[in-house]
Symmetry: C3
Subunit: 312 residues, 3 copies
């Protein structure tokens, strides 16, 4: 099987077969990370450029590690010192990078649609590492992998996504992925954080967390963006924590084997209480580990020749 | 053949034979970039330190990619977090790096002559990646390679360099290189941007772009440094664009097969109109690709043992 | 022989046998750096994360080079763009990195004890690259290696450490290491910079440099931290230089073959005069070279399988 497009722009554009194929490849990749020599030079001689216009050490590091484990040369292109500060357009920056002949561009940008625009411009494969509030497909893929590994299947799982649904690219990508794979998705959050017409994406809306998490298999907390917190959306963090934070009491009302997930970095005591983040119900660190595997899988599927046996 | 010196400080210090030798080596290197595995570990185990005291993601990335394609370990030394902020002299920083035994130092610095000073201080080869308004030899070498590839020869080509000749290290290196290789060079720009006695470098001075570009084979635009634009040199960007910018009208007055070149990043609508930058006369992206090849060639010639067959 | 712990947190926690073992391994590693191909892929497939919460290009570069010479993949985690600015705790950042399965974390942090805290939290080996004013073990190990190489033995050497003993992690680590290896240590500095009860660490206190350096084999200058200089500790830099700086006159009063050492970066004319820093008594650049060797040794001992012959 092959992916139909050269790019990974969002879960909206992948079929359920493609998603399953990526998840299966990621599970093979995880085996590499358990070797003493955590490296298979399947992509030796390939070049990946990490082009991050929003700072994110965590995601960038995950992509970088994924590349290095496959023998790829990874170049980090630091937005803050880049030529954009010299008046160059994003498109010019990217076609210039393309002239250096990379195989994959990993792009994070604050403007929705940037990854698609760039993908249409360059010959290299583009992986969207987050474009504004639009999509963050590798996050959703690692979330799906985490659920599949733990539950055996995604189909039929009930998942509650809690938080700022309106401004979250993670929520959008997760909703696309989960519904395509047959999960039942609910969203909950303050009314200011629930986008109008979100039901059209195939989800049920709750305004009470207690009701939203009843009988679900997975609770996905979203991060409250402290650094760009909007006063008009939230009266206070304390109020958010009280009404929408997941704590021991919420956990006691949920299914006993509920999975707690969070894309990180977590704000302890805001969207998730420490007692929950550090409990055995938490799959947060497993998500991080799966992030490397999913990114390795995408690199392999997009840049690999298909002739090499990745698990030898 | 071998280069006569351990360093590449400027085109002023290279003979035409050395320049030809570097360009020929760069053409071999370009073949590597067309392989599916864009890597030949000819310099495996060698170390290159990128020491940039002026920010430049583009040039730094080009050097980094060039190194990685030859199997070199590349270390980026970030000026802004370096010990210079702790009161250490540049020379002390460099002799300390030398003590870690790198093979090549790639140095960019705002002070003319810095590369030479450092080259005399350390055992490693030094490649000048730009020293103030003095020289930027790898840029000129990639320009020469671009002309040679397209025209078969540099000798006898008529080249017009347009812009701030007085403050441009690119212009100085290009003039040295072009005249050594037998091209006929003209320069044009506002009177405040033409240095006195520039004719001594073997160029003809024009104050009108229209006249300067008549019958030339190559038009090289220089970048107007928006970020350090000096009010005393330019009444306004609009006026510069009108009198010295290269646009469709200029193109219609030039030879039909004229090459348009620019060291990048470009300021669309200032020194070059979008309709020209994106036209089939534009060789700007070819220059970027040649930049990687030229830097690979220099690394190979300076750090290679000469025993390995780079094209196998 | 093997090290007893998975981490290198300080010289306080290493036995003299372990220190000797590390120094012997470092001497083998130095031979690699003299090869034309300065690389032995003994640790191929291993991953090291440089996690620096205080800026230090020099030390970070030394660790990075050491890793690359052993074939390790080195990831630089830049504190200033990291998720800590998003409200994540240090511990959460580190357990997230651990989830990506690195072999070694190199950690620098301004808070004493951070390395120990993190070492207890993660499965990876932790190397303390400086924790506040507590310890900087790799600096002390490279100092010990420099003395041993020059003098044949550390035992019985008389060493004077001059400067801000109270706030120097270098001084603390050196004192632990030197006394464990049988050297006789003196410290000297302004009274405000001598910690109370320092004699309990087995050193003699002097308030006059002239007396402190009499008949010693080694003078170790400490760096005056210009960037965080405290007015209450020092009347002025000029006064410090006059009374505690090492200059030609101090040198004339010391043993003829005295070794002058400094952890760098040096403040010329403050704690050390240029005439001394650049004299044949100065071992400062040798210290830098030994820094790479010591860090290679630690990587090899902590992450190596022990089956490979590092010197082949």
């Amino acid at each position: 099987m092959k992916l139909r497009t050269k790019d990974i722009l969002g879960l909206e554009y992948l079929s359920s077969e493609e998603i399953s194929f990526i998840l299966d490849t990621a599970r093979s990749m995880k085996k590499i990370s358990t070797h003493s020599t955590k490296k298979v030079p399947a992509l030796r001689g390939k070049t990946i450029i990490n082009l991050f216009y929003e700072s994110s050490t965590r995601t960038r590091t995950s992509f970088e590690l994924a590349g290095k484990r496959l023998g790829v040369d990874v170049i980090n292109f630091n937005f803050s010192t880049s030529s954009t500060s010299k008046g160059e357009t994003l498109k010019d920056t990217v076609v210039n990078l393309q002239a250096m002949d990379p195989d994959i561009l990993v792009l994070r940008h604050s403007a929705p649609g940037t990854a698609k625009l760039i993908a249409e411009t360059v010959a290299a494969s583009v992986i969207n590492a987050g474009d504004g509030a639009h999509e963050h497909p590798t996050q959703a893929l690692l979330d799906l992998l985490t659920i599949k590994e733990s539950r055996g299947t995604i189909k039929g799982q009930h998942v509650a996504i809690i938080g700022d649904i309106a401004h979250s690219r993670v929520a959008r990508s997760d909703i696309w992925g989960l519904t395509k794979m047959g999960a039942k998705v609910r969203v909950a959050g303050p009314p200011t954080m629930i986008p109008p017409c979100i039901e059209k994406m195939g989800v049920k809306v709750f305004y009470s967390v207690d009701k939203a998490i009843q009988d679900v298999d997975v609770i996905m907390c979203l991060r409250i963006q402290l650094e760009r917190q909007n006063k008009y959306l939230l009266p206070s963090l304390r109020e958010y924590a009280r009404f929408f934070g997941i704590n021991r009491i919420s956990l006691s009302r949920a299914k006993e084997n509920v999975m707690i997930m969070h894309p990180g970095p977590i704000n302890r005591g805001v969207e998730i209480a420490s007692e929950v983040a550090d409990s055995k119900s938490s799959f947060i660190l497993g998500q991080v580990a799966n992030g490397v595997a999913v990114r390795m899988a995408l690199f392999y599927l997009l840049a690999g020749e298909g002739e090499e046996n990745v698990t030898h």
